[in-house]
Structures are given as structure tokens and as C-alpha cells.
């Protein structure tokens, strides 16, 4: 897979939003590569820029208040950032598709599920209405909706949360995209339904051979579903590597904090969790040094003055930290439990 041409290459992406209270640098120099059939997870807390990164790939950001300030998004050799709107529209939904967190607000309540599926199919494929309806039924069956012939005439409110997300997936996959962006697809769902949906996405990925960008705040979802993972903090990538390496040998202090704040299974009554102190920085202010410095237990003077570059510290393992380099390592503090 490595010598293959990558499907998607994001290089040094920078996105900002302007509002009356100032400019927010939501994404600040994000780079990653994604190959055919691969799943990459983007983890981070709210405001870390994970959703903005994903939406800018599809160029779905509000044009008036946001701008892509720099970088390239190369999809199959084409730079999406510079693409005219017409061409972009043809890629959207056809080659790259997206599913969102809340299936209720992303489906149109006044059209039937069938209408919305047929719309997507007919926009991108030259088929008759009858043929499109047939394909829509097939899609619903594929995502595991029982009685698709009847369900296709129903409205979103007649579907449960899990069913709506299945319908969303059906719409997203109706044109067999090469890349699916899933923005917290299971956050609004119950655990048993979450397990169903994630399994469905995996099955469909194998069947349709697509790549997935999975955005989540739940490391558990990453362990199970992703090949590679990007850890984001305050608009920057702080660590990226394969899922196994991140678990066995996490290197960035923020990743450590994230792992340590997880609720461990061991239910000792006296046990305490190890949270990261403080809160994420306000991105309206210029951050000179490392964005995590203020909450980092290992920060020294240089961390507040100079922003660390994302560098390859080990093979296929990139970290942005002044003290985690190929030459030197931090001693990870014992977690007090």
C-alpha cells in the first residue's frame, strides 16, 4: 500500500474564521496523507479543529466568515483548494462524501428518505428516475434497513436515531465515493446502536473499497476502527502515527493526558482520575509557543516562545514537541492512581 499513489494529501492546511471579536485560527498547519481503503482517525477535544479540517476538504466552510489561508488539499492529483465551484460540486458526494454527527438535523424533514436518496443519485449519475429509485432501495437494504420498499416512502421523523444514521450513510454512499468523511457519526447514538453503525461502516468499507476519515473524541472508537490516527490540539497536529504505535508508545504530553483521563475499567472506590488541568486556549489570541504549553506538566521556557514543528521522531511516528525528538526523550511521569 505504501508505494501506491496516495488518495488524499493534506499539506500545511490553515483555516481561519473572522468574527466581530477577532480572527480565530481554527486550523494551523495540518498535514496528513491517506491511501486507498485506509481509515484515519482524527481525535481531539471540542475546538481542536478536527471538524474544520474535515469540512475544508469538502470546501463546505461558510465562504463569508471563513477562509483557507494556506496549504493544499490534493485529492487524486487535484488541488481542491484551487478548484472552481462547479468542479468541486461534482467531486462532492460523488468522490468524497460526508456523514455528520446529528442525523436529525442533516436530513431534510419535509422530504421522504427516498426523495433525498434519489436526489443524490440523480445529481451525480445519468439514470432514469425509476432506476434511481431501484438503486435507492438497494442502498437502504445494504445499510440494513428492514423493508426498504416501505421505508423509502417515509419521512425522517418516522425513523429512529440509529435508522436515520443508516439512511445518512446510504445517501453518502449512494454514489460509491472513494473517500468518506464521518464527523462523529455515532456520538449522538446509544452504545448498542453505535456498535451496529461502526460495524456497518467497516463492512461497507470492505465491500466498496473506500477510505474513511473518522472524526471522534472517543479513543475507544479509534482503537477499534482506524489504521492511523491524528491527535489534534488547538488547531495543530500534535502527534500522528499508526493506531498500535499510539497505544503502545504515545509520545506527546497531550496524548498522555488524553489517555490518562480515560475512565479506567478498574472500579476501585478510592480511585481518582487524572485529568489534564486547565482548559484549551482561546484561539482568538496569538499563541507564540506550543499551544499545549500552558496545560503541560513538562513545559519549559522554550515551549512558551517557540512553536514546535511536527517531526518524524521514529519511523512513521510524528510528534510536535520540543522535548520529544529523535535525539532526546521525556521521562513520562508516573500516573498517580
Amino acid at each position: 500500500m505504501e508505494n501506491q499513489e496516495p488518495l488524499l494529501q493534506v499539506e500545511d492546511l490553515a483555516v481561519s474564521f473572522t468574527s466581530s471579536s477577532g480572527t480565530v485560527k481554527a486550523v494551523n498547519g495540518v498535514s496528513f496523507t491517506l491511501h486507498h481503503g485506509e481509515t484515519i482517525g482524527i481525535v481531539g477535544e471540542s475546538g481542536s479543529g478536527k471538524s474544520v479540517t474535515a469540512t475544508s476538504i469538502l470546501r463546505l466552510l461558510p465562504p463569508r466568515t471563513s477562509s483557507i489561508d494556506g496549504g493544499r488539499i490534493v485529492f487524486e492529483g487535484e488541488n481542491l483548494v484551487a478548484l472552481p465551484p462547479g468542479r468541486m460540486r461534482r467531486i462532492r458526494g460523488n468522490d468524497i462524501s460526508m456523514i455528520f454527527q446529528d442525523p436529525m438535523t442533516s436530513l431534510n424533514p419535509v422530504f421522504t428518505i427516498g426523495n433525498q436518496l434519489v436526489e443524490a443519485i440523480r445529481l451525480h449519475q445519468q439514470v432514469t428516475k425509476k432506476e434511481a429509485v431501484k438503486r435507492a432501495v438497494e442502498m437502504l437494504r445494504l445499510v440494513g434497513i428492514p423493508e426498504p420498499e416501505r421505508r423509502i416512502r417515509q419521512y425522517p421523523h418516522e425513523f429512529s436515531g440509529g435508522m436515520r444514521q443508516r439512511a445518512m450513510i446510504a445517501i453518502a454512499l449512494s454514489c460509491h465515493p472513494k473517500l468518506l468523511i464521518a464527523d462523529e457519526p455515532t456520538t449522538a447514538l446509544d452504545v448498542t446502536v453505535q456498535a451496529q453503525i461502526l460495524r456497518l461502516m467497516k463492512e461497507l468499507q470492505n465491500k466498496l473499497k473506500m477510505a474513511i476519515i473518522l472524526i471522534t473524541h472517543d479513543l475507544g472508537v479509534v482503537w477499534e476502527n482506524c489504521d492511523k490516527v491524528i491527535v489534534m490540539y488547538a488547531g495543530s497536529v500534535v502527534e500522528t502515527t499508526s493506531v498500535n504505535k499510539l497505544y503502545v508508545n504515545p509520545l506527546h504530553p497531550y496524548t498522555w493526558g488524553l489517555l490518562d483521563s480515560q475512565v479506567q475499567a478498574a472500579g476501585d472506590k478510592q480511585a481518582k482520575l487524572t485529568p489534564i488541568p486547565g482548559t484549551p486556549p482561546d484561539l482568538r489570541n496569538e499563541i507564540a509557543g506550543c499551544p499545549f504549553a500552558e496545560r503541560c506538566g513538562y513545559a519549559k521556557e522554550v515551549c512558551f516562545e517557540e512553536k514546535p514543528e511536527l517531526t518524524e521522531v521514529e519511523a512513521q511516528h510524528h510528534v510536535a514537541c520540543h522535548f520529544q525528538t529523535a535525539a532526546s526523550r521525556l521521562e513520562r511521569n508516573e500516573v498517580l492512581i
Binding site: E45, S160, G162, D190, Q196, R199, W223, T279
Partner: protein, 325 residues
């Protein structure tokens, strides 16, 4: 063991919904909470888990009488809350406080933090103005904020800080029981850990009793002594956390536990995938409500509803096949 603080006995809450066209007089009932009984002892933390629509939040609201049960009794320190007048219940609520899920929606955006935390004291007419002020400052310190934060508005705080304010507000009346309705589910993991630690510290410091509702099974396990698993308005399994998590007996509990995201990329776990979604509580399936989705269901499950009965000491299950699966 210590005294029983709260006793819930055969509590039911049915909501009427109209059946059929818009103006139809025909009524059906959503059995949101259907015959639930349990006890909480002083100083204990009881966790309630279940998926959306299982009735866990309705149960919480029934306990502090935000809604009135259709039948059944709620006793707090031996006193029945169910027969009380609105005025009497308000006095009792001093001792039963609640923390809600959404820290963005549960604070009035036009009030300063000081006023928000002081409000319970004003309502219950406790202390002079000066004493109240002092108490508010004290509360802010206790939950990890500073006295000067009292002069700010809710929008100036992050989600985690707002939840701290909510905790301060629940705590200001020195309650004995705190009902936490998904207090950390809207927060990021690193912040979630801060709030969970705070809740644990406060419990030891003020000898609080918690009824802790959440859908995150790991969080509930971490904080609770005992746990109740609810499905479609009924308790299907209950016991000590240890017991239920180690040897779950009800197939639903098993499915729930097996669906929790993995702890590492190397973990191998056999998943029990449930078919379909939670059925409508208006027309729940006959017999055991879970039989349609249950991978172990037998003929008996379709007709006879199982009752919650002791499986071993301190572990009750509502399943015909308890101990046999």
C-alpha cells in the same frame, strides 16, 4: 449498614399520548417508568444505566417530584414525598438537589454567577444578604473556581466550568441526596475527568449520596457502588457494580457491556450485536420487553413477563433464563 435515605416503591409513570388523527380522543400510554422499586442508603452512589428512552431521566424527575408519579411511593428519610402539597415538596427539595446534563442550557444566560448560585438560598429564605454572599464565595472555592467568578455571566465559562457552577448551585443548600442526570456526558474527556474527581471529593467531604444517571458504562462503573440497568421503563438487572460488571446475567446487560468501545487496539472481545432499535414504549413487546432483540429468547419470553428476582445475594435479574446463559 447505614440507614435507607431514599426508597422508591412500585413507582409508575404513564404519559398519555393521543392515538390516531390529530384531534382523536383515543388515548394510549407511554409507560416511561413501569413499576420500579429500589433503595439508596446514606453515603452510597447508585448508578442508573440504559439507552435513550429507557426512563432513567423520568425516574430522576419522579424522585424529586418535578413530575408526579402515576402510582407508587417515593420515601425520603422515611417520609412519603408522593402525597405532599407543592409547598411541602419545595421544602423537601432542599435536601434533594439535581445536576443536569447540559451545562449550556441549565444556567440562565442573563444572570450573574453569584445570583445563580444564590437563587436557591433566596427561594428557601436562608440567611441574610451578607451571609448568602459569603456562602456563594465559599461554594465557588469548593468547586474549584474563585470568588471573583461570581461577577461574571455564564457565557464567559467553558462547559466544564459551567458544570462546576451547576454543582455549586446544587450544593449550596447542603443537600443530602444529589441526583446527577448525565452530568459529564456533554464534556470532553480531560474535563470529564476533572468533574468526576470533583464529584468524588465532594461526596467524601460532605457525606453526599448520589443517584448517578449516565449512558457511559465506564463512568458509572467508576463512580457507583451499586448499579441498575433499565430497559423500556423497567429495571432488568441490579446489583453491586462488581457483580453486575463481572458476571452480568441479563442478556441486555451483556449486550450493553460488550458494546462499550475497546480499551486498546489489541483487545479482542466478542460482541453481542442487538438487532434493531429499542421498541416504542407505547406498544412494548409482549412478555419480556427485550425478547425481540434478545439472542437467547425462548418461547416463554414471548408470553410471560419475567419479574426482578434475586439471582444471588445483592444481585437481582429480571430474566427467565437467569443463571442458565
Amino acid at each position: 449498614m447505614s440507614e435507607v435515605l431514599l426508597e422508591v416503591k412500585n413507582v409508575k409513570k404513564y404519559f398519555a399520548v393521543s392515538d390516531g388523527p390529530f384531534f382523536s380522543k383515543k388515548k394510549k400510554h407511554v409507560k416511561a417508568v413501569d413499576d420500579v422499586s429500589f433503595q439508596i442508603k446514606r453515603g452510597e452512589t447508585v448508578g442508573i444505566v440504559g439507552e435513550s428512552g429507557c426512563g432513567k431521566s423520568t425516574l430522576a424527575r419522579l424522585i424529586n417530584r418535578l413530575i408526579t408519579p402515576t402510582s407508587g411511593a417515593v420515601r425520603f428519610k422515611g417520609r412519603a414525598l408522593t402525597g405532599l402539597s407543592p409547598k411541602e415538596i419545595r421544602t423537601e427539595r432542599q435536601h434533594i438537589q439535581m445536576i443536569f446534563q447540559n451545562p449550556y442550557a441549565s444556567l440562565d444566560p442573563r444572570k450573574k454567577i453569584e445570583a445563580l448560585i444564590m437563587e436557591p438560598l433566596v427561594i428557601h429564605n436562608i440567611g441574610t444578604k451578607k451571609e448568602r454572599r459569603k456562602k456563594v464565595d465559599e461554594m465557588l472555592e469548593i468547586v474549584g473556581l474563585s470568588a471573583y467568578h461570581g461577577d461574571r455571566y455564564p457565557h464567559e465559562f467553558s462547559g466544564g466550568q459551567r458544570q462546576r457552577i451547576n454543582i455549586a448551585r446544587a450544593l449550596v443548600l447542603n443537600p443530602e441526596l444529589i441526583i446527577c442526570d448525565e452530568p459529564v456526558s456533554a464534556l470532553d474527556v480531560s474535563i470529564q475527568a476533572q468533574v468526576i474527581n470533583l464529584l468524588k471529593d465532594l461526596q467524601t467531604e460532605f457525606h453526599l449520596t448520589y443517584l448517578f444517571i449516565a449512558h457511559d458504562l465506564d463512568v458509572v462503573r467508576f463512580i457507583s457502588d451499586r448499579i441498575m440497568v433499565m430497559y423500556l421503563g423497567k429495571v432488568v438487572e441490579t446489583g453491586t457494580c462488581e457483580e453486575v460488571y463481572r458476571t452480568p446475567q441479563h442478556p441486555y446487560t451483556r449486550a450493553l457491556l460488550s458494546s462499550v468501545p475497546l480499551k486498546s487496539p489489541f483487545e479482542e472481545r466478542e460482541r453481542i450485536f442487538l438487532q434493531g432499535d429499542v421498541p416504542s414504549p407505547i406498544d412494548p413487546p409482549s412478555g419480556c420487553h427485550f425478547h425481540e432483540r434478545c439472542p437467547f429468547a425462548v418461547e416463554q419470553c414471548k408470553t410471560a413477563a419475567p419479574v426482578l428476582s434475586e439471582y444471588i445475594a445483592e444481585h437481582q435479574v429480571s430474566c427467565h433464563l437467569a443463571g442458565q446463559i
